[in-house]
């Protein structure tokens, strides 16, 4: 019964998650294999969205709590690394795949 309760409380989340899983599966199922590496890299950049979590944590840290501020700051830097590095690397890779005029 607790599981029903849980489903009830989070029903929209569950719908969203289930649908997004379907979207993810369908998107990837038809990719040519030469694009696997850039795709992996692109997906890597997208999960850098975790950066927003770090921003929220840092943004609500009390101004005198230096440990929180410090760790939050590190979190933001690392998250940004993931996002920026990820997108730049992917872009460089994909640049190799475009047709060149001879």
């Amino acid at each position: 019964m607790q599981i029903l309760e849980f489903i009830h409380e989070h029903i929209t989340y569950i719908y969203l998650i289930v649908l997004m899983i379907f979207v993810g599966i369908e998107l990837i199922s038809h990719v040519p294999s030469v694009l696997h590496t850039p795709l992996m890299s692109g997906a890597n950049a997208i999960h850098g969205v975790v950066l927003i979590g770090a921003i929220i944590v840092l943004g609500k840290a009390p101004e005198d709590d230096y440990l929180s501020l410090g760790l939050g700051f590190v979190g933001v830097v690392l998250g940004t690394l993931n996002v920026v590095g990820g997108f730049v690397v992917t872009d460089r890779m994909l640049d190799m795949f475009k047709k060149k005029k001879k």
Partner: protein, 481 residues
């Protein structure tokens, strides 16, 4: 509060941009645009959060520090991503993935701290569910999930990075499986007890963190270096799930959507990558014929037949007076960094009126697309790179096939020997050509660690030596002929 509503809209747009971006990345023509779109969406979401979130929509506190972090991260990230060599891309991806994992773990630690400060369990309730019971347990559950998954992803990615950089060797502990189970089980057990309320205190959180980090190391350590792309893809989807946990925690749609998308897409991508190599995921993770066994199997070489060695001069003549040459690049070409000489040879032959093409096997090399990236980097024109399905019918019209440091992708056992571990994998059918020249350093096996009967066929000539050195010799021979 209009700010909150605008932020919501930005998050929606960002989520859509992630999906569309990934969709566009499915085709070489639109892929770059897709990546750009996702980046724009991400930027909207990030700056939206900084300036529109928070109470009253006035944005975050500590804006200065946040922006400083962004600037530093952007600077370092851009420089690293720009500096890295094309062949070093996979480890770079792994590194950035690890950063995301670490970020997720840090978030969990800080949220836990805040829960403790705010007087522990009771306070957190409305933050997550809005209901009175189970709320804080739920929050703790998410925190621990983010912590463990993020930490595993972090340490695993760093090990994968080290392996690809050749700084860490494959290593199997005695009773590896059991140790893994104990470490991971321990982390789960402590997390479970804390969520259930039987354990308390920050110390246990750090113990869980430690165990998760150790597990990440143990998990990746025994897997062969050549299997790393698959492992990275898997860890990638882990970080996605960790990000989704953050989305759940903060009721933040864009984190949830982005995280779940990558979690599911990454998992499928992992499976698809395994399929392309004709292996199962468990096979990669437990390691049936991965890296470290290659050497052993290769020892039993020279099993049957005799080989025919040829000289660089012979090969140069053959090619110069042939009509059509097909080059099959493989892992050895990448290792020897011979792509530039290879392109030089190709241009030289074209000038002599020989038609030259490259036959690209989808899993040649050690990462998908490896050969495309490598050859494109050395300015080989894109329409000379022909994919497997299209080049296979052409081999019988071709005078010389030059196999440069490839092995498994031209192994006929994949078609003829049902007992072979690579049986069923589609291969480049080079045997249909008039002459086959194989350039490698020895009779050693390749990635799959198995004999290659092609080397013993009458039409095959072996040209031993490092790919770069031999190709350079060929270039000189063709020039002086």
């Amino acid at each position: 509060m209009m700010q909150t509503q605008i932020l919501e809209l930005l998050y929606l747009l960002a989520s859509v941009s992630f999906v569309l971006g990934l969709k566009w990345m499915n085709h070489p023509d639109s892929a770059r645009r897709g990546n750009l779109l996702a980046a724009v969406g991400m930027t909207l979401a990030v700056f939206g959060t900084i300036f529109l979130a928070g109470e009253g929509g006035s944005g975050m506190s500590n804006k200065g520090i946040i922006l400083l972090g962004l600037v530093i991260g952007t600077a370092i990230g851009t420089v690293m991503a720009r500096r890295v060599k094309m062949t070093g891309m996979p480890q770079m991806v792994s590194f950035f993935n690890g950063m995301g994992g670490a970020c997720a773990a840090l978030i969990s630690i800080l949220e836990f701290r805040e829960m403790q400060h705010a007087g522990g369990v009771e306070h957190a309730i409305e933050l997550v569910t809005g209901s009175a019971d189970g709320g804080s347990a739920m929050k703790l559950l998410i925190i621990f999930a983010g912590l463990i998954i993020g930490a595993v992803s972090f340490s695993g990615s760093i090990i994968a990075y080290g392996k690809l950089e050749d700084k860490i060797k494959d290593r199997v502990l005695p009773m590896q499986q059991l140790v893994n189970l104990l470490v991971f089980g321990g982390a789960l057990a402590i997390a479970g007890l804390m969520v259930g309320g039987q354990l308390e205190g920050t110390l246990w959180l750090y113990i869980t963190l430690g165990l998760a980090l150790v597990y990440g190391i143990l998990f990746v350590l025994p897997i062969g270096g050549a299997d790393m792309p698959v492992v990275i893809s898997l860890l990638n989807s882990f970080t996605g799930v960790a990000a989704a946990c953050g989305g759940f925690l903060y009721d933040n749609n864009v984190m949830l959507m982005g995280g779940v998308l990558v979690g599911s897409a990454g998992t499928i991508l992992t499976v698809v990558m395994c399929n392309a190599m004709n292996r199962s995921l468990t096979n990669v993770l437990i390691g049936n014929f991965g890296g470290n066994k290659g050497g052993a199997a290769a020892a039993k070489s020279g099993s049957g037949g005799t080989i025919r060695e040829v000289s660089a001069t012979d090969v140069a003549i053959m090619m110069k007076y042939g009509q059509k040459v097909i080059i099959v690049p493989g892992y050895g070409l990448a290792v020897a960094q011979a792509q530039h000489v290879c392109h030089e040879l190709e241009e030289l032959l074209e000038k002599e009126g020989v038609e030259v093409k490259y036959a690209i096997h989808p899993v040649a090399g050690r990462m998908p697309g490896h050969m495309n990236v490598l050859l494109a980097e050395s300015n080989v024109s894109y329409d000379k790179l022909v994919e497997m399905e299209h080049i296979n019918p052409e081999f019988n019209t071709c005078d010389v096939v030059l196999v440069v440091g490839a092995n498994d992708v031209v192994n006929p056992a994949a078609k003829s020997d049902p007992s072979s571990p690579i049986y069923g994998m589609p291969i480049l059918e080079v045997e249909n050509a008039r002459q086959v020249i194989v350039m490698k350093r020895s009779m050693k096996a390749g990635y799959a660690g198995i004999e290659n009967e092609l080397f013993y066929q009458p039409k095959t000539g072996m040209l031993f030596g490092d790919a770069k050195a031999t190709l350079t010799k060929l270039v000189n021979e063709v020039k002086t002929l």
